[in-house]
C-alpha cells in the first residue's frame, strides 16, 4: 500500500494521520485529536431519560476529572433542557385544550378521543388542534428562543397533527418542531 492510499484509508476514519514519506514504509504515525463537534441524536423514552440523568449526576459527583465533569454536565443539562421544554409544552397544551376536553384530567398519556372525549372534527380538521398546537409552538419559541423571527417559522401541518392519538404525540410534534429550528 502506498503512502497516499494509506493516508486516504486512515482519513476515512475521521482522524488525521501523518505518514513519514521519506521511507517506503510507515515508520511513524502521529494521531491528532480533532476538535470536531459531534451532534448525537437518539430517541429514548422519558423514564429512560430520567434514569440516564440520575446516572450522569451520580458520575458527576464521583469524578475528579474536570474534563469528564464538563462533558457529563453538558449532556445532563441538555437532557434537563429537553425536560423543561417538554413540561412547558405540556402545561401550555393543558391550558389551551382545557375547554375542549370536557374538563377531564389531562395527562401526557391521555387518549384524546377515548379518554378526553375530544371532538374528532377538532382533532382532524383545520382550525382545531392544529391551530392550538401552532399557538403553543410559537409561544415556546418566544419564551426560549427570543431571537428567532416567528414570522419565518414553518407551521406544524395539519397532516401531522391529525395522526395524533395521545396528548404526548402532540407534545412530541411541537418539541420536534422547536428543536428543528436552526
Amino acid at each position: 500500500m502506498k503512502h497516499d492510499e494509506v493516508a486516504a484509508h486512515l482519513t476515512c476514519h475521521n482522524k488525521q494521520w501523518k505518514v513519514d514519506k521519506a521511507s517506503d514504509e510507515i515508520v511513524q504515525v502521529y494521531v491528532y485529536q480533532t476538535l470536531r463537534i459531534m451532534k448525537i441524536e437518539f430517541e429514548i423514552e422519558e423514564k429512560e431519560a430520567v434514569l440516564l440523568l440520575k446516572i450522569l449526576q451520580q458520575f458527576m459527583g464521583q469524578t475528579n476529572n474536570p474534563n469528564v465533569l464538563k462533558s457529563l454536565s453538558k449532556i445532563a443539562s441538555e437532557i434537563e433542557s429537553d425536560f423543561q421544554i417538554g413540561n412547558q409544552i405540556f402545561l401550555l397544551l393543558r391550558t389551551r385544550l382545557y375547554d375542549y376536553t370536557n374538563h377531564n384530567v389531562m395527562l401526557p398519556e391521555s387518549d384524546m378521543r377515548i379518554f378526553l372525549g375530544m371532538s374528532s372534527n377538532f382533532i382532524t380538521r383545520v382550525g382545531g388542534l392544529e391551530r392550538e398546537a401552532n399557538i403553543v409552538f410559537i409561544q415556546i419559541v418566544k419564551n426560549n428562543k427570543p431571537d428567532v423571527d416567528i414570522r419565518k417559522l414553518k407551521q406544524i401541518p395539519l397532516d401531522e397533527i391529525k395522526k395524533c392519538k395521545l396528548i404526548s404525540d402532540v407534545q412530541e410534534i411541537i418539541q420536534s418542531a422547536y428543536e428543528n429550528i436552526s
Binding site: R96, I114, G117, S119, F122, R125, G128, D159, K163
Partner: protein, 293 residues
C-alpha cells in the same frame, strides 16, 4: 341445477385513503351526497355465473375521489366518480356519476380567540347517468354540519364526539356518538327539482369500557341512520321516502388506519340522488377498511 363457471362473491366494504403528499389524497367511501355517507365505507358484492342466461348480480355502492386539500384558504377541492348498482333487489338501480366537490370549514371563535364551533360545508356537482331508465341529468348537493367543539353545557350536541366518558361506570354498558347533516339538493334533467335534506346518525358502542381493555373500544358497533328530504321548488315523480339504515356488527382495528369486521344491515326507503327506489332489503357483509400512506 345451475352451474357456475366462475363464481366471485366479493362481499366487502372498503374505505381507503391514500395520502400522496400533504396536499393530495384519494379516498373511497359510500356516497358523496353528504358528510355522513362520505365517511361510510364503500360496498361491493358481485356474482358472475357461468350460465349465460343468468345475469351477473351486483350490489355496488361507492365513490372514488381525488382531493386537493388546503388548496386555497381552508378549501378542499376534489374530482369524483361514483357508482350505485344493485340488481339483487326487486327494483334495479344502476347509476354512474362524475363530478366535482368543494369543502370548506367556517370557524367561529370565542372571546379567548379559540374555535368555539365550526360549520363544515360540502358542495358537489355531479353529472348523473341513470342506466336503468336511460336518463342523464345534473345533480347538486350542498350540505352543512354544525360542529360544536367547546361547550360545557351543550356537550350532548357535539357531533363526532364520544358522549359518555369511557372512565364512567356507564361505559361498561355502552358509549355513543352522533352526527348530522342538513342541506339542499338539486336534481336536473326532466325533474328540475330543489329538495331540502336532513340526515342524522347515531352510533352506539356496547361494552365499550370492557372492549377498551384490549384497546378495541369500538369492537361492537350499532348504527342507526335516517335521511329525509322534501321538495322545496318544483315537483318530481322520483321516490322521496325517508331512508333508514340500521346496522350492527363487529369492527376490529388492526392499527390506527385499518380495520376488519362483519356487519348486518337493514335498509328501508329511497334515495333520489342514487336512484334507489323505495324498497326494503338486508345485507350481511364483511368489512375491510384500509388507509395507505
Amino acid at each position: 341445477m345451475k352451474t357456475f363457471r366462475s363464481l366471485l362473491i366479493v362481499c366487502f366494504t372498503v374505505s381507503f385513503g391514500s395520502a400522496f403528499s400533504q396536499k393530495a389524497s384519494i379516498s373511497i367511501g359510500e356516497s358523496t351526497t353528504n358528510s355522513l355517507t362520505k365517511n361510510k365505507p364503500a360496498q361491493v358484492i358481485a356474482t358472475f355465473p357461468e350460465n349465460e342466461t343468468i345475469k351477473n348480480s351486483w350490489l355496488a355502492d361507492g365513490f372514488i375521489e381525488f382531493k386537493l386539500t388546503d388548496l386555497f384558504k381552508n378549501y378542499n377541492i376534489g374530482a369524483l366518480s361514483e357508482l350505485h348498482k344493485n340488481n339483487l333487489t326487486s327494483k334495479e338501480q344502476d347509476v354512474l356519476q362524475f363530478g366535482l366537490t368543494i369543502e370548506k370549514d367556517y370557524l367561529f371563535n370565542d372571546s379567548h380567540d379559540q374555535t368555539c364551533f365550526r360549520i363544515i360545508s360540502g358542495l358537489n356537482m355531479k353529472y348523473t347517468n341513470n342506466r336503468v331508465k336511460g336518463k342523464k341529468e345534473l345533480q347538486g348537493n350542498l350540505g352543512l354540519t354544525l360542529s360544536l367543539e367547546k361547550s360545557e353545557n351543550f356537550r350532548f350536541l357535539q357531533p363526532s364526539t364520544r358522549l359518555i366518558n369511557i372512565t364512567s361506570s356507564f361505559a361498561y354498558l355502552f358509549t355513543l356518538s352522533h352526527n348530522h347533516n342538513i342541506g339542499l339538493g338539486y336534481i336536473g334533467g326532466d325533474e328540475n327539482v330543489l329538495l331540502g335534506d336532513a340526515s342524522f346518525e347515531l352510533s352506539i358502542y356496547p361494552l365499550s369500557r370492557l372492549t377498551n381493555l384490549i384497546e378495541q373500544p369500538e369492537l361492537i358497533q350499532i348504527n342507526w341512520n335516517i335521511n329525509g328530504r322534501t321538495p322545496l321548488l318544483g315537483e318530481t315523480d322520483i321516490d322521496l321516502n325517508t331512508l333508514q339504515t340500521f346496522s350492527a356488527g363487529f369492527n376490529y382495528r388492526i392499527n390506527d388506519k385499518s380495520s376488519v369486521g362483519i356487519s348486518y344491515s337493514w335498509q328501508k326507503g329511497a334515495n333520489p340522488y342514487t336512484r334507489l327506489d323505495n324498497q326494503e332489503f338486508k345485507t350481511l357483509s364483511a368489512k375491510l377498511k384500509l388507509t395507505i400512506g
